[in-house]
Assembly symmetry: C2
Homo-oligomer: 214 residues x 2
């Protein structure tokens, strides 16, 4: 393999991660629309499109052994290749979590999962999660470590919203146990989605600085 | 680095994964004891000991770039190194999930999280999760792909138990919404724990056969 095809392979790897991050944004936006607008089509699209993330992850993983053996990358190229394993894993998982939300929506359709007292907090969670995912997408392109580190703040917003929702649910929730469990799980999925996004950002920090941050 | 120190490094990597898998077993057994016996000491031990898994994962990750650059492993050695990234990630996460269960126990202590009607199903989940983790530990040592593939069956047991618990919770659960949410989350943690164990087993299959199974 020539040097230029080596660069091409690294570019393809970066490109695949960029595409995955955009897919993860689309997925969580779709899940939010499905959830808050009781939009069946949006839910089905999230589930259907998840295969793209699965395939991209497989492509990324298949590229890596070959790249390592043929090119023996070092320093930041090596870090990119190793980070790609974890980043693609996190992004694929973000898609799965959006799918989990979409599936709960479909399971209750046409009844909403989000009764009026929960609308504000869930809207906030959905927006915060989508915003984090968009920032991840930007950070993967710019590799700005400061922006990457900032992502933790948006994550706090999701955690706070989750705590607020849980305290609402246990203070005499009038919509039944089933709905309370649905909402507890949905908020858990948003929280995990945000955690994975923060993991991606941490990998970008490692990629740029060479400092491991687990 | 000499060839023998190369072998030593690979052995250390394998050894670290073996230790991690045993720690993951101890963690889920401790979480189960904490949960079912309302055992505060067991819960605190799970939380305290989790740092070992975190450290081992960091060690594994720190070894990998050096190993790749100095030794340029190929074929099954390369697969081992790459799998170690994901396996250590899964095992560390299994520890986190045991910690989540332990934390719920502490939050409600001295009140039990598991009222009598949920004892049977939670006991089953706790046992199935621990059994899967033990098999993972064995499979990491023997690298028997058939045993590794069998793990999916135990995973089904956890999924079935989770579905049974959720249907109990939504059919007039007399212990309140808070307890129902606790139990839904605990069962979710067991389910995820088992999923990560199955992921480790899949990595072992890949390690041995060279066939990617995501």
């Amino acid at each position: 393999m020539s040097r230029s095809s080596y660069d091409e392979q690294l570019d393809r790897l970066t490109g695949a991660l960029a595409t995955m991050s955009r897919e993860a944004v689309t997925a969580i936006r779709g899940a939010g629309r499905a959830l808050l607008d009781v939009d069946r089509d949006a839910a089905e699209a999230v589930i259907r499109d998840d295969v793209t993330l699965d395939e991209l992850r497989r492509d990324v993983e298949a590229t890596i052994p070959e790249l390592l053996v043929r090119q023996q990358p070092v320093a930041s190229d090596l870090r990119l290749v190793l980070c790609a394993i974890r980043i693609s894993g996190d992004l694929e998982r973000m898609g799965d979590l959006a799918v989990h939300i979409a599936k709960i929506v479909l399971m209750r359709h046409p009844v909403t999962v989000v009764p009026p007292p929960a609308t504000a907090v869930l809207t906030g969670m959905a927006e915060a999660a989508a915003r984090i995912a968009e920032k991840v997408s930007v950070v993967l392109a710019t590799r700005d470590p400061l922006d990457a580190m900032q992502l933790g703040l948006d994550d706090d917003e999701v955690d706070t919203a989750q705590a607020r929702l849980l305290s609402q649910l246990v203070s005499g929730w009038p919509y039944g146990v089933e709905n309370a469990i649905d909402l507890a799980l949905v908020s858990r999925y948003y929280e995990r989605y945000a955690d994975h996004a923060v993991n991606v950002a941490r990998q970008v920090v490692y990629l740029v600085t060479g400092t491991i941050r687990l």
